[in-house]
Symmetry: D2
Subunit: 126 residues, 4 copies
């Protein structure tokens, strides 16, 4: 289980006084970027090789609102790895309470959008 | 079917050269805001009454990337209305091609997060 | 004088109930993109040629807050054009009232950040 | 001198491959929020009292681009404090190199936009 801390800033909130719903996708992407960096995956090098990560599917459940100054913890785990696709489970926690949960499917593509095998360090997780 | 045009600007793209995945949720929220405004729902008045719309669940499929300057059309339709919950189907089209699709469940809550019945003009759709 | 309409959506607001201060820079960039497109400048083609627009300096004055659902008009005019630099005056208006004003200096650079002459259609404005 | 670390994520970049210009304002706002929190200023409590911080003016100079995965340090210092207004100097550094610099004027207002004296813990800095 990978854990990644986030604090909520003004930019993340909306006029409802809570975190805007799209911004949870920003939060969990930061956690995924940290997770692949820790596995030795360099997204700048991948991009220089003409490969990028793309998100194919997101299923997101919003349980409780997060507010300004909240300290959140993002938990990320691998649900499934195939040669071409990685499915991750991600949760946003405040203290011991889950406030958001998502299942995210990602893949690797060329600049023209053609699918490629995942980097070796990710396939090794299967 | 509600239709809402969007153009892709610099702010929407990321270093992959395409629209950042979280920004599709911004796009489809603009379309939903336009749709409820057309139905006579005033979100400023609701908020003055202590009520806000919240998203409970999103299922999103990313089919093709959108790029800078693309002209997109967001199609929104009601899939299901109950007293407490509204489920909408939304698609982002470029010309006749679907590039993104989402199923979005929304509800109304008080500032304290307590669920309330949907506004009458929305319940009338059921 | 170039005029460009904007509507304020949820994504633009923050917990203060008004438009988040950084988002005015997104608004005025949309207007600049529309302005250069109208002049025949294709930013996708420029990028394929290895050139991008960069902002060098912004002076911004926040006069009045904008709120959800506000219909704003962005006025853009050229203040000064030199071979390497363009200075623009931009104002965000609500009805006849100015709510934001900025002076923005932009230039063209290569992917490595080296300065280049502005596109011919822009230099022609001097 | 207040120092605040930032890492650049995908969400911060644009199709130019660098940090989008408006996002520096998000970065320096995070640093200001951290700075006032350290001084004992609770923005949630202020808001409950009907007061919010607003930005009145920004002068920003963009010196060098920041890129994905960059680790940046934001330096914040007080340039001037008056009863109604605070002027801060903020710099974004990468290693020892300044890549962005801004002078930001902030004030406190009521929900109706009326100016109020700055919180005591801020006025004490003068």
């Amino acid at each position: 289980m990978h854990r990644f801390p986030i604090r909520v800033y003004y930019e993340d909130t909306d006029m409802g006084g809570v975190v805007y719903y799209a911004n949870y996708l920003r939060f969990i992407e930061r956690a995924r970027s940290d997770w692949v960096r820790n596995l030795g995956n360099d997204q700048n090098a991948m991009r220089a090789d003409g490969l990028i990560w793309v998100v194919q599917r997101v299923e997101a459940d919003y349980r409780l609102p997060a507010r300004f100054d909240d300290e959140l913890l993002i938990e990320t785990e691998v649900l499934k790895v195939s040669p071409a696709r990685l499915i991750m489970g991600q949760r946003v926690m405040r203290a011991e309470v889950e406030i958001f949960r998502a299942k995210v499917t990602v893949a690797c593509v060329t600049a023209e959008g053609k699918p490629r095998r995942l980097p070796a360090e990710i396939r090794a997780l299967s």
